[in-house]
Amino acid sequence: MRLALHPERVVTFIVDRNINYTNVCVNKCSFCAFYKDEGDEEAYIIDEGVLMEKIRETISLGGTQILMQGGLHPALDLSYYTSMLQKIKKEFTINVHGFSPPEIAYMAAKAGLTVRDTLAALKDAGLDSIPGGGAEILSDRVRSAISPRKINTAAWLQVMREAHLLGMRTTATMMFGTIETPEDIAAHLEAVWRLQAETGGFTAFIPWTFQPGGSPLGRTAGHATAADYLRVLALCRLYLDNVDNIQASWVTQGIKTAQVALRFGANDFGSTMIEENVVKAAGVAFMVTKNDIINAIRSSGFKPAQRDTFYNVLNYF
């Protein structure tokens, strides 16, 4: 199936930077090792100068995208985000891939706007596409157990639907290996498949496993092993026949398992991840450069290609 969709044996990757604009979050999900309370010593909101410098660096490293994600900060309102976007867009030509559905829903609620109007405002300000985070498992039974304050399945799907209807492309993720059953995973895939059938707005699907280090849930829930990861990844490839791209997650699996994933259905190696605070806080830190990614893809027997946010190939290596 992977070969049917991508017969040319190309594996893509993107050069981008993950910028976590704040680690303050009211949601306090049990699997999250990243969030802090507002008063915490380590709590931060990114300084505008630092943000601009990070973007400048990203562009100088050949980056084409920044991934902006953060916690749900009670003191930031929609105008903070729109003005941040405007400033970025005024200064740089770069794709802003930002704000997962929980963040967007939170902005909307605080502003008293509909999700659609919120998205439209963000889009106007310069938001290009939306990452599929916060999906975890689209099963309300699981969500209410592991992230009770996070938006529910219907709300997550609704943000994505509205975004697609506004012509924005998004990815979708799935985090497994917590307390879900195979039925929950199947329900997740079915929900994504259905929305994709309706809108066609998903560019890629990214399954990854819960990283137990440092989070409250890590003390109780088991590790998903490589066998679980590869099996689920293959299932995703087979089930989501209407989603073009399946991304391997070297950040959570390590380079070698991500290479193996290329034979289990993945055709994209994700990002060079100049910065990845959220996963790093859970103790998984892989130092990887663009050349490492290119070598890793090539030594797996595939042709490496740098892509943009929308999976257009920019150049082959």
Binding site: G222, H223, T225, A226, A227, D228, Y229, L230, Q253, G254, I255, K256, T257, A258, Q259, V260, L262, R263, N295, A296, S299, S300, G301
Partner: protein
């Protein structure tokens, strides 16, 4: 290509090469699993073991060895027998296998090694001692003047149970000359293992791959091991070791892909049809590839490995140790049946 494997026929050199050159990863995995299941059903073995590296002082100073030091150099250490016993006594979790390998210390006499084994055996009569690679044994023959058989039987009489498989690297003499010219030649490695086998000492075998060798070199390496095993039957497990690039070592910065790791595992299982086990050594592969290797013919994942120094000084990014719970989880999640073993593959529970 897999007909031979499924019908129990021996693969020849060309078959093995064709497998390495093939892209049919899943075909290989299936055939290797077929062989593994014929031998062991769903069983996958693990052990509780502990490593002792008595010294890192080594006269060889192989280029790719990040572990060794010269005498007197910063970070050089050498343990007395008393210190070794104290370390063992301080090990909180029980273990059934003790793995001892180290540098070739310029000052230690053969009697030191004999005493080391006797003292450990006296203190822990039920623990099996797997100690000294062929490189060390060869070094001992120079100290003892007893020849290979004499040296090995002295060690055996003191309580040595097994030899580990280290020092094999890659047998091809050209590659060996570039990779580790300081090491004993391949013929000598094989000679040491053959001598051990004829004295009833079981051994393991390794192959370090993914650096500057070719597929041909890998195949020749496997063929040499298979031929020796055919004569002696003394090998228990073959352990393919995935090369890890390290700073300051030979000029190779690439490392084998996860796909190559799995392929090598499967080809090893298919070619080494007279070896009881192919081992996925998690320290070198990482837990994730190690587990995946259970679908590619591996039937052993080594052990808890308390206090491993050598691979970690070379920058292995794996955990320092795994608990038995973690090993059982890893095996069970791969839909296999975990079996605890001792060094000689007897099922135990301690």
């Amino acid at each position: 290509m897999f007909d031979k494997a499924y019908s129990g026929k021996r693969l020849d050199r060309d078959d093995a090469l064709a497998l390495f050159n093939s892209d049919d990863l899943f075909g290989m995995g299936k055939a290797a699993s077929f062989i593994a299941e014929n031998l062991h059903g769903k069983k996958v073995y693990y052990t509780r073991n502990r490593h002792i590296n008595p010294t890192n002082v080594c006269v060889n100073r192989c280029k790719f060895c990040a572990f060794s030091r010269s005498a007197g150099e910063d970070g050089a250490y050498a343990m007395t027998i008393g210190e070794i016993l104290a370390r063992l006594a301080a090990t909180s979790s029980p273990f059934s296998e003790l793995h001892i390998v180290g540098g070739l210390h310029p000052d230690w006499p053969f009697s030191y090694y004999l005493d080391m084994i006797s003292e450990i055996k006296k203190a822990y009569p039920r623990i099996q001692i797997k100690a000294f690679t062929a490189v060390e044994i060869d070094h001992f023959t120079k100290l003892s003047g007893l020849g290979l058989r004499g040296t090995l039987s002295e060690l055996k009489s003191r309580g040595l149970d097994m030899l580990p498989g280290g020092g094999a690297e890659i047998f091809d003499s050209n590659v060996r000359g570039r990779l580790c010219p300081e090491k004993i030649p391949a013929a000598r490695w094989l000679e040491v293992h053959e001598a051990a086998h004829t004295l009833g000492i079981k051994t393991n075998a390794t192959m370090l791959y993914g650096h500057i060798e070719t597929y041909e070199d890998r195949v020749d390496h496997l063929m040499a091991l298979r031929a020796l095993q055919e004569r002696t039957g003394g090998f228990q497990a073959f352990i393919p070791l995935s090369y890890q690039p390290i700073s300051g070592a030979i000029d190779v910065t690439r490392y084998p892909s996860g796909i190559d790791d799995l392929k090598t595992m499967a080809v090893s299982r298919l070619v080494l049809d007279n070896f009881p086990h192919i081992k996925a050594y998690w320290i070198m592969l990482g837990e994730k590839i190690c587990q995946t290797a259970l679908y590619f013919g591996a039937t052993d994942i080594d052990g808890t490995v308390v206090e491993e120094k050598i691979a970690h000084s070379a920058g292995a990014s794996s955990a320092e140790m795994l608990t038995t719970g973690e090993m059982i989880n890893l095996i069970t999640k791969a839909q296999k049946e975990p079996v605890e073993r001792n060094a000689t593959y007897e099922e135990v529970s301690i």
